[in-house]
């Protein structure tokens, strides 16, 4: 039976462990310590826990200053604020200044649920991906979260960690090794490749692969883990099937789907792509996470339908005379 763990608890535990083993980490919060769940860290290391109050620009600025002073700052806030509200601070004082700031954006996409459209970032990845050299990762389970947090602490440079706070099932063995910019192939199948980012979408992609298997459409499932650097090598090696579906808890503009579309256009032309994510013309809304995931078309049936359409279209294209059927090559 699969066990689940609360992701925020893993984040806090991991940071405690990293400080215990000698890393000079300081955590920063903007009056969301209760949400991020870093209270246990603050209790264990009160002098290393800094709450700046409701002031996200200052949150990121102070983190940059701490970095210049030799600390390893992990600054966390809701992903909507980490990206939209403190973008210039993160861009300039942290990234452009080539400092060592780890920015953690919690409650990505529909996981913001009852906080609603105002707090629902479907564009944080797009904004972050526009920043040169920034490492962008979204862990998919408690094991990858712990490993990526440790990698962030031990790798100089700015990071954006997209973090679902809520429980997520364990996908990986306890001692699984992770490398920056290397995706994980969770399952292999010959007809279509599902590339997913983050705990919610990896779970849905795996469920979609189960549905497709029942229909005789074997699917590869890749846990992207990293949006930047994107694991082009692993992705390209699984595009030989000719059909790719990207799955992201984000608008389809500027995030994983866009990154894979660019990769296909430049290095694997002819590959069919469908992007599962929030439509380009939609803002967030309020509701339960499950309702929102269905409402925005992020669930396994939507992924399976898109994959099915791609595979069927591919077969159709193969039976049609050359020069026709090109309209549906990119969805």
């Amino acid at each position: 039976m699969t066990t689940s763990r609360e992701m925020r608890a893993v984040y806090a535990e991991t940071l405690v462990r990293l400080v215990e083993s000698g890393r000079d980490i300081v955590i920063l919060e903007a009056d969301l310590m209760k949400a991020t769940g870093t209270g246990p860290f603050a209790q264990r290391f009160p002098s290393r826990a800094v709450n700046v109050g409701v002031a996200e620009a200052n949150l990121v600025g102070v983190a940059a200053g701490l970095s210049a002073g030799g600390k390893i700052p992990f600054a966390a806030t809701f992903a909507c604020f980490a990206s939209r509200r403190a973008y210039d601070q993160f861009f300039l004082a942290a990234n452009y200044a080539q400092l060592n700031v780890k920015l953690v954006g919690t409650d990505p996409g529909v996981t913001a649920a009852f906080n609603g459209g105002t707090h629902m970032p479907f564009e944080d990845l797009a904004l972050m991906r526009a920043i040169p050299r920034l490492t962008i990762a979204e862990p998919s389970d408690p094991v990858s979260l712990a490993a990526l947090t440790a990698l962030a602490a031990d790798t100089y440079g700015c990071w954006y960690l997209r973090l679902q706070r809520k429980p997520a099932p364990v996908l990986y063995e306890e001692h699984e090794q992770f490398t920056i910019g290397r995706a994980k192939v969770l399952r292999t199948g010959s007809r279509v490749t599902l590339v997913a980012l983050g705990a919610l979408m990896v779970r849905e992609a795996l469920a979609a692969a189960d549905m497709l298997a029942l229909e005789g459409i074997p699917a590869t499932v890749i846990d992207a883990l990293w949006l930047s650097p994107l694991d082009e090598q692993t992705l390209l090696s699984h595009m030989q099937c000719g059909c790719v579906v990207t799955c992201e808890n984000h608008r389809i503009v500027g995030g994983l789907g866009s990154a894979v579309a660019e990769l296909i256009a430049e290095k694997a032309p002819g590959t069919r792509l469908a992007r599962i994510g929030v439509a380009a013309d939609r803002f967030g809304e309020v509701g339960t996470q499950d309702w929102l995931a269905e409402h925005f078309g992020l669930t396994a049936p939507h992924i399976a339908a898109a994959a099915r359409a791609l595979v069927n279209g591919s077969e159709q294209a193969q039976t049609e005379p050359a020069g026709t059927g090109t309209d549906s090559r990119y969805h």
């Binding site: 109050g53 002031a55 600025g61 004082a93 200044a97």
Partner: protein
């Protein structure tokens, strides 16, 4: 500060003004006004107060300076070059492609520049972070930060103000260059900041206002601010400097249009003559044997 010390600082400030006027004049355009208004402060800090080592810009125990009004970089570059952080002829490369001296301060490009700034309001937060890191490590010394009056319109200044006061960052000493002008006009007409000393005091800071072109007054204010590191008295300090934008630059002193202005070699020469200093940089001027 005795008379000869003050005279030496005044002489150095004239030299730095001359270098800065040449530096920008050789390019032909730049942020001359806000650079000139902080020259006296920079000279006082770098020649009397700051623990630095030009041969070792990355010395971990050094005092730090965050020039939050990053567009005044050319004045800081003149001070750093004169101190020996880098060759003085680098000043002729200001803003040219591939330069180490960009319009706004960049910690990755210029030896002696401690923080990247230019998007106004950000430098005070990073200075607070630097001060906090030093306090956490029990390191001595101070983090100095220079903000502008126009910059004080930024909300982030006041976020950082609340934070530094709450953390009692007494190793943080801020200067506000109160020259009364910003890009679009007089500060009182764009956004009137009213009683700025009272504002900072009410935010929990030790705040005072002095003449930013009076070395003795600034020196006394810095001494007073440093005493805020005494246990039981800890507060961050801000010294509001009444300054004149373009101070000491004959063709633009006190002009509201001097934020970013175009001028050439001829005006440069006039300004140097008015200051009573000789050219040190511009080949055309040096060739005239002056």
């Amino acid at each position: 500060m005795n008379l000869s010390e003050r005279s030496a600082l005044e002489r150095k400030a004239r030299e730095i003004r001359g270098l800065t006027i040449e530096e920008i004049g050789y390019l032909g355009v730049g942020h001359i006004g806000g650079a000139m208004s902080i020259v006296d402060l920079l000279v006082l800090l770098y020649h009397r107060h700051m623990r630095i080592d030009p041969a070792n810009p990355a010395w971990s125990d050094r005092d730090r300076l965050v020039l939050s009004k990053g567009h005044a970089g050319p004045a800081l570059y003149a001070v750093l070059a004169d101190k020996g952080f880098f060759p003085i002829d680098w000043l002729l490369t200001l803003n040219r492609g591939g330069t180490s001296l960009p319009s706004h301060c960049d910690r990755t490009k210029t030896p002696g520049v401690d923080m990247t700034t230019g998007s106004l309001g950000q430098g005070l937060s990073t200075a607070a972070g630097l001060a906090l890191a030093r306090a956490m490590d029990g390191l001595p010394g101070f983090v100095y930060c220079i903000i502008g009056d126009g910059e004080s319109n930024e909300g982030q200044i006041w976020e950082a103000a609340m934070f530094a006061a709450h953390r009692r960052l007494s190793n943080l000493i801020v200067f506000a260059d109160w020259n009364g002008m910003q890009i679009d006009g007089y500060t009182r007409e764009v956004i009137d900041m009213d009683d700025i000393t009272a504002k900072w005091t009410s935010f929990g800071w030790h705040a005072c206002m002095v003449d930013g072109h009076d070395f003795e007054a600034m020196d006394a204010a810095i001494q007073e601010a440093r005493e805020r590191a005494t246990p039981g008295r800890e507060k961050p300090s801000i010294i509001i400097l009444k300054t004149i934008k373009g101070k000491g630059c004959s063709f633009c002193e006190g002009q509201v249009s001097n934020h970013n202005m175009t001028y050439g070699i001829e005006q440069t020469m006039q300004a140097l003559q008015a200051l009573g200093v000789s050219p040190r940089l511009i080949p055309e001027l040096l060739a005239q044997g002056r």
